[in-house]
């Protein structure tokens, strides 16, 4: 530390700051010291100066004029309202300037900051309601600009014209309502643009002209009424977000100009209709989520969108699926089509990577042999709340990875068990014509099973202390002998007369048996749901 070597040639360290040597240079930390002005005796060899979290409300002219080697200056978290061009004179080598979390209300215009090598400028969390036209004339090398969390009502179009090297910018959390044509026309190097949490209602069709390098565009949490067709000029776009807006339709060929798109987030929009060709020719798109678009009657044509891995299309009006669905989407891993009106299923044979299928709440009646053939990676299959009456005996034989099968609320009178040996979760509740009590041997790994009737759980030892109702009424005492009777009734294997279990040993045995074969089977038999089937 500099303080200990004050006598030698080490550069002076202004008290009460802390200094650290960096070769012949010095890094100065004056943060959180209650300072009300910039220390005056700063060494010209200072390369890093942290004045953050103090009470500085003004920077005296030429405060930094000797600091030609300063690379990073942090003045965030103070009470600065204005910083003139003269205040930052002399900072020829400054690369990073942090002014966030101040009270800045305006920026200099006619005599702007002269920081020719500045790369990163943080102006976020201030009170700026506008950016003067000339504000950035002296920072032409700027690459990263933070203007988020201010009070801007417009895109500072003219000021941005001075920034041909800008690569990343955030204008989020402002009050911007409209994006005019050619708003970013000079920003040919811009890669990232954040505009989330504004009040953007409309955008001119050519507002993104000039953004030849843009890869990420964040329009989330705005008030867009129409699909942003202006994105058509963004040929390099990879990540697009416009979720939490007010968009009702996605037009035909919506992303024809964006072949590089990998993710599109547009949930929380009242989307009713989607052009059939809207999501065509997006070879890098891996996730597509559409929920509640009730006017979608036909499955979208996904020609050329061959990398899709997750497709969610719920609460729409689909009644059928294309027969060549899996030819178009060979890499599909998750298919979620719940809450539609699908009746017939194609064969998912070519979707060999499928791991999850959600088809609950549709109108499916039959499961054919070919429907789920060769889906060797399928882990979860939800067919609940359909009208399934029949399942081909070998429909599940090749589902070696299946662990969860939900057939709740269907019309099944039998369920083929071939191929279901790996299940840990099986749900059959609501299939009122299904009386069969499945032997545990079919499901050696079962952990949770739901049956239509309580007696079907008895094979899983879930009867515990519940005997047929008649025996339960007459013997209400709790003597050791009674415990013995209940044990015999519950576990016939202990029926031999010589077995005289010690109570403690017996309870241990109960606990152990619960651990080894504890299959949670419901509904649990009880006094009013006896183990014996009422129907004999």
């Amino acid at each position: 530390r500099i303080q200990e070597r004050q006598g030698s040639a080490a550069p002076p360290c202004p008290s009460p700051c802390q200094c650290e040597e960096d070769g012949i240079f010095v890094m100065v930390d004056c943060s959180e010291l209650g300072l009300s002005s910039v220390p005056t005796n700063l060494s010209p060899l200072t390369t890093y100066l942290d004045l953050s979290m103090n009470n500085i409300s003004e920077i005296q002219p030429r405060a930094f004029h000797r600091l030609h080697l300063l690379s990073e200056l942090r003045i965030s978290g103070n009470q600065l309202r204005y910083i003139s061009g003269h205040a930052l004179q002399g900072l020829h080598n400054l690369k990073v300037l942090m002014l966030q979390n101040n009270q800045l209300e305006r920026l200099p215009d006619d005599a702007p900051w002269d920081l020719p090598n500045l790369l990163s400028l943080r102006l976020d969390a201030n009170l700026l309601s506008e950016v003067p036209a000339g504000a950035f004339r002296g920072v032409r090398s700027l690459r990263h600009l933070w203007l988020d969390d201010n009070s801007l009502t417009e895109i500072p179009v003219t000021a941005l014209d001075s920034l041909p090297s800008l690569q990343a910018m955030t204008l989020a959390l402002n009050q911007i309502t409209h994006i005019p044509d050619y708003a970013f026309t000079n920003l040919s190097a811009l890669v990232v643009l954040h505009l989330h949490n504004n009040k953007i209602q409309s955008m001119d069709a050519r507002c993104f002209e000039g953004l030849h390098s843009l890869e990420t565009l964040d329009l989330n949490y705005n008030d867009l009424q129409e699909f942003p067709v202006a994105i058509r000029t963004l040929s390099k776009l990879q990540e697009l977000g416009f979720h939490n807006n007010n968009i009702k339709a996605i037009p035909e060929r919506a992303f024809v100009g964006n072949p590089q798109l990998q993710t599109i987030h547009f949930y929380e929009n009242p989307i009713q209709s989607v052009g059939k060709s809207a999501f065509q020719f997006l070879p890098k798109l891996h996730t597509l989520s559409l929920n509640g678009a009730t006017q979608i009657q036909e499955f979208p044509d996904l020609k050329g969108t061959t990398s899709l891995e997750i497709l969610t299309l719920t609460r729409a009006g689909l009644s059928a699926l294309p027969l060549d669905l899996c030819e178009q989407l060979p890499r599909l891993r998750v298919l979620e089509l719940s809450y539609n009106q699908i009746e017939d299923l194609p064969s998912f044979y070519h979707c060999s990577a499928l791991q999850e299928i959600g088809l609950q709440h549709n109108q499916i009646r039959r499961i054919e042999l070919s429907t789920f053939q060769q889906l060797v990676s399928l882990r979860a299959l939800d067919l609940s709340w359909n009208m399934i009456e029949w399942i081909h005996p070998d429909a599940f034989t090749s589902l070696h990875s299946l662990i969860k099968l939900d057939l709740t609320e269907n019309c099944l009178s039998s369920v083929p068990v071939a191929g279901l040996g790996g299940l840990t979760h099986l749900k059959l509740r609501g299939n009122t014509e299904l009386y069969e009590a499945f032997s545990p041997d079919h499901f050696p790994r079962m952990r949770v099973i739901e049956m239509p009737y309580a007696y079907q759980c008895c094979v899983y030892g879930s009867c515990d202390s519940y005997k047929p109702a008649s025996q339960w009424d007459t013997e209400q005492s709790n003597t050791d002998e009674d415990l013995h009777k209940r044990t015999v009734a519950m576990y016939p294997i202990h029926a031999d007369a010589h077995y005289d279990p010690d109570l403690e040993e017996f309870q241990l045995e109960i606990e152990e048996s619960k651990l080894q074969t504890s299959v949670q089977c419901t509904p649990t038999p009880g006094p009013f749901r006896p183990c014996d089937s009422l129907l004999g």
Binding site: E20, M27, D29, S31, E32, Y48, D50, S52, M53, E72, R74, S76, G77, M98, Q100, N101, L119, S120, R122, D124, A125, R143, H144, D148, D149, Q167, A168, T170, A172, L173, A189, V191, V192, H194, H196, N197, S213, E215, T216, E239
Partner: protein, 115 residues
């Protein structure tokens, strides 16, 4: 550069809204970033005007959070855009790569691809 700029621990921090001596800041004043700093086995809540090196800040109306940059970045603008690379990587248009595009050379001092 300084590891954690402008921050003291416990309840003396300027950005804290609520805090406890044991856990540091529990919530931050508006416009401050909340970051959980690991000190030994403990996690201390810290309120900052900018996230520590290796993290980027995301502002939203409800809260301001710090999120880790990609492993090859020393600092970044968001999860897909680096502003400074780790040693052995070179920056070009927000990407940190071990090699530079054709026509650009690797600068070890700046850790960038330069013409």
């Amino acid at each position: 550069h300084k590891q954690i700029p402008g921050v003291s621990s416990g309840c003396q921090q300027g950005g804290c809204l609520t805090c406890s001596d044991y856990n540091g800041c529990l919530s931050c004043k508006p416009r401050f970033f909340m970051h959980l700093e690991r000190i030994g086995m403990k996690q201390i809540g810290v309120c900052m005007t900018s996230c520590p090196p290796g993290f980027y800040g995301t502002r939203s109306p409800e809260r301001n959070t710090c999120t880790k940059c990609r492993s090859e970045c020393d600092s970044c603008f968001n999860k897909n855009f680096c502003t400074r690379c780790r040693a052995g990587f070179y920056l070009h248009l927000g990407k940190c790569q071990e090699n530079c595009p054709e026509g650009l050379a690797r600068s070890d001092t700046q850790r960038e691809c330069v013409s």
